[in-house]
């Protein structure tokens, strides 16, 4: 079992410079506390994401830490020129001595893609083509590609990543049906699901993994994302979590609302108590969080526990306290006695004939992409 942090870098207040500095101080604490990796989201034109170029924030993280792994979760590939992405990936991996975890995605918001002039209906194709170019380019010396969106002719690639053939690949999914395909790709997965669904997903992923004849020891990371607030008492923690949840939720639905659409309830419920019930939020004293996470962990069958300690208007002090209590009083109890989980992320691959995205990925918000 490894522990990691996910961060939307959603706007916490008017002073963005201070927020950046507070978050960087937190990454130092994550490292101290023994977290494996720090994953940051990319969003545009919304208070949900104040790291619209996550590579820049991650370059700062690389300076503030020495062991902590980090990466975007995920780069919306369609919003990048593939050469820019190749260059940025190499720079980050080299500047950190090979600590990059490479999350790739189609981009979850058609509104954000539209800001960039990307027709949402082309998002999937663009993703496929860009990923193909990026994986072909990483580690290569020259790059040729003739596709629908990009033509690259004999481009010299003067930089290579430290991690070969490429940094570990990650994907975010809310779709149960993507388990088989992602297992085929050997891709690490960050789920955003209720605990029970995560359990169904991991069973399917493991079954698909076994059916492919792959060793359990080579399992990629499969993690589920939780908002975690640990304070000295249940009431302190729950009231801070409730307060911050509403700020975060407003950011989450900001662009959808602005376009007159509510997010489907199964994507994100506006109700704090319902969200706690589903397991998306775990808040309380160390004992309460420990019990709940232990229970959820056995249901979800994950080998990677992804926590969000900073969101909404949680102050630096609240988040820092949360992390310290978590590290000292929760984390040790969540480590299985005979831990057989992976110690590092799987590399993942884009093998020929395999598809990264499936139609089921569009099941919830797909109507907006068509």
């Amino acid at each position: 079992m490894k522990f990691a942090v996910f961060d939307h870098l959603d706007r916490s207040g008017p002073d963005l410079g201070r927020q950046y500095e507070d978050r960087l101080r937190l990454t130092e604490i994550y490292e101290w506390a023994g977290f494996h990796a720090y994953h940051v989201a990319e969003h545009h034109g919304t208070p949900l994401g104040s790291a619209p170029s996550p590579g820049l924030f991650l370059a700062a993280v690389a300076q503030r830490t020495t062991k902590l792994r980090f990466g975007p979760l995920a780069y919306p590939l369609g919003l990048y020129h593939p050469l820019r992405l190749l260059e940025e990936i190499c720079m980050l991996d080299v500047m950190s001595g090979g600590r990059l975890e490479l999350g790739v995605g189609r981009g979850a918001s058609p509104y954000e893609a539209a800001f960039f002039g990307i027709e949402p209906a082309t998002a999937q194709e663009r993703f496929d083509e860009t990923l193909e170019i990026v994986l072909k380019g990483l580690g290569a010396e020259r790059l040729d590609h003739a596709g629908k969106y990009f033509t690259l002719m004999d481009v010299p690639l003067v930089m290579q990543p430290v991690q070969r053939p490429h940094p570990p690949l990650w994907h975010v999914t809310r779709s149960l049906d993507s388990a088989d395909r992602l297992a085929g790709l050997g891709c690490n997965v960050a789920l955003a699901m209720p605990t029970r669904d995560a359990g169904t997903f991991t069973r399917r992923y493991r079954a698909a993994w076994a059916a492919l004849g792959r060793a359990p020891a080579d399992m990629p990371f499969v993690g589920n994302t939780r908002n975690v607030v640990v304070l000295d008492s249940d009431s302190d923690a729950v009231s801070a979590a409730r307060r911050a949840f509403h700020v975060w939720y407003d950011s989450m639905v900001h662009l959808w609302r602005a376009n007159g659409v509510e997010l489907p309830r199964q994507v994100s419920s506006p109700d704090f108590d319902e969200t706690v019930e589903q397991g998306y939020i775990v808040a309380g004293s160390p004992a309460k969080v420990r019990d709940r996470m232990l229970r959820d962990q056995s249901i979800s069958g994950i080998n990677y526990s992804i926590c969000r300690f900073a969101c909404g208007d949680l102050s630096f002090e609240e988040s820092a306290r949360s992390v310290r209590l978590f590290a000292r009083e929760v984390m040790p109890a969540l480590m299985p006695k005979d831990d057989t989980g992976p110690v590092r992320a799987a590399t993942g691959t884009l093998a020929r004939g395999l598809r990264w995205l499936g139609d089921e990925d569009l099941s919830e918000v797909g109507f907006l992409f068509r």
């Binding site: 170029s53 820049l56 370059a59 020129h81 820019r84 980050l92 002039g117 481009v155």
Partner: protein, 334 residues
């Protein structure tokens, strides 16, 4: 007179991780030595520029320094989506408490922009439109624009830079005629000419500035960039400079040579001795460097003295020694 640093981040050897690390250590020394700003180039697919996303490296620079200003010189604007560039400018300015110096250009290498699929012929027009979008985006809450290359309809600008209306603009100038336009835009300028040419440029810029009714005390920075190596003796400094210059020059012409052509404007001589003679490189003991810089700065009429103290295969220790000697024995006299 202010002092700045320009860095191509050309490849110094096989270990790029070490190069980044040593460069960051050197940048800490630039700050201690009292340099005003660190300017980083953007190049693609060539050993001339190992920081093809200068923002990524500059985000690290912001963490390693507290007062040193920094920026791209220049962002090749045509190789970015304007929204991405607005995001990066805001992030860097916010992550540094307002220390960004914003260099912009269209990208002068047809090979590099070609790799990105941008037709060099559209460069100036595309650049003008992108710049308009970027400045609008940095100053307005919502962005609308309908042009030839870009269309935006009411895009929310969630982030603003610390420096309002936007960080200081920088431009690289190669022609005397551009002085009038740059003065009008109150744009800081690095002039890519020899000292005598820069002298004519600076004179014209100042005249244009005055004609616009601006206060001379508020003149933007006009800079001249030179390779500088300071050692204990002329011999030692010049031999290191000669060695490093050859490697840097190879990187400079790499893509042009690969395409079987020479540099379009053969400004910088390929021969070290000619480059030294003409002042593109200043290398020597503190006294030698001091005298030459003093003379050339007077001729050039600049108010910003830009040095390249790390280039080619100069070792960290060689560059460090240059910085120390420059700060102690050259800077005060200038």
């Amino acid at each position: 007179m202010k002092f700045g640093i320009f860095d191509h981040m050309d490849r110094g050897g096989s270990d790029l991780g070490r190069q980044f690390d040593e460069r960051l250590r050197l940048i800490e020394l630039y700050e201690q030595a009292g340099f005003h700003a660190y300017h980083l180039a953007e190049h693609h697919a060539t050993p001339l520029g190992m920081a093809p996303s200068p923002s990524v490296f500059l985000a690290a620079v912001a963490q390693r320094t507290r007062t040193l200003r920094f920026g791209p010189l220049v962002y090749t604007v045509n190789l970015y989506h304007p929204l991405r560039l607005i995001d990066e400018i805001c992030m860097l300015d916010q992550m540094s408490g307002g220390r960004l110096e914003l260099g912009i250009g269209r990208g002068i290498s047809p090979y590099e922009v070609g790799y990105y699929g941008v037709d060099p012929a559209t460069g100036p027009e595309r650049f003008a439109e992108a710049l308009e979008v970027i400045l609008k985006g940095l100053t307005e809450k919502r962005l609308s624009h309908h042009g030839k290359y870009f269309a935006f309809e009411d895009v929310p600008m969630e982030m603003q830079p610390v420096q309002r209306p936007y960080p200081p603009l920088w431009y690289g100038a190669n022609s005397l005629e551009s002085a009038d336009r740059l003065a009008k835009q109150a744009c800081n300028t690095v002039v890519g000419m020899r000292a005598d040419g820069v002298g004519r440029f600076a004179e014209r810029y100042r005249a244009a500035w005055k004609a616009l009714g601006h206060d001379e005390a508020r003149l933007p920075l006009i800079g001249l960039s030179r390779h500088v190596v300071v050692g204990d003796t002329d011999k030692e400094a010049q031999s290191a400079a000669r060695r490093a210059f050859a490697l840097w020059y190879d990187a400079l012409i790499h893509l042009w040579r690969a395409h079987g052509v020479g540099l379009p404007r053969q400004l910088i001589p390929a021969e070290f001795d000619d480059a030294l003679e003409q002042g593109y490189i200043i290398a020597g003991s503190p006294a030698t460097v001091r005298e030459r810089l003093k003379r050339d700065n007077d001729v050039a009429g600049i108010n910003y003295c830009i040095c390249r103290l790390a280039f080619g295969d100069l070792s960290f220790d060689e560059s460090k020694r240059s910085v120390e000697l420059f700060a102690r024995e050259v800077m005060p006299a200038l």
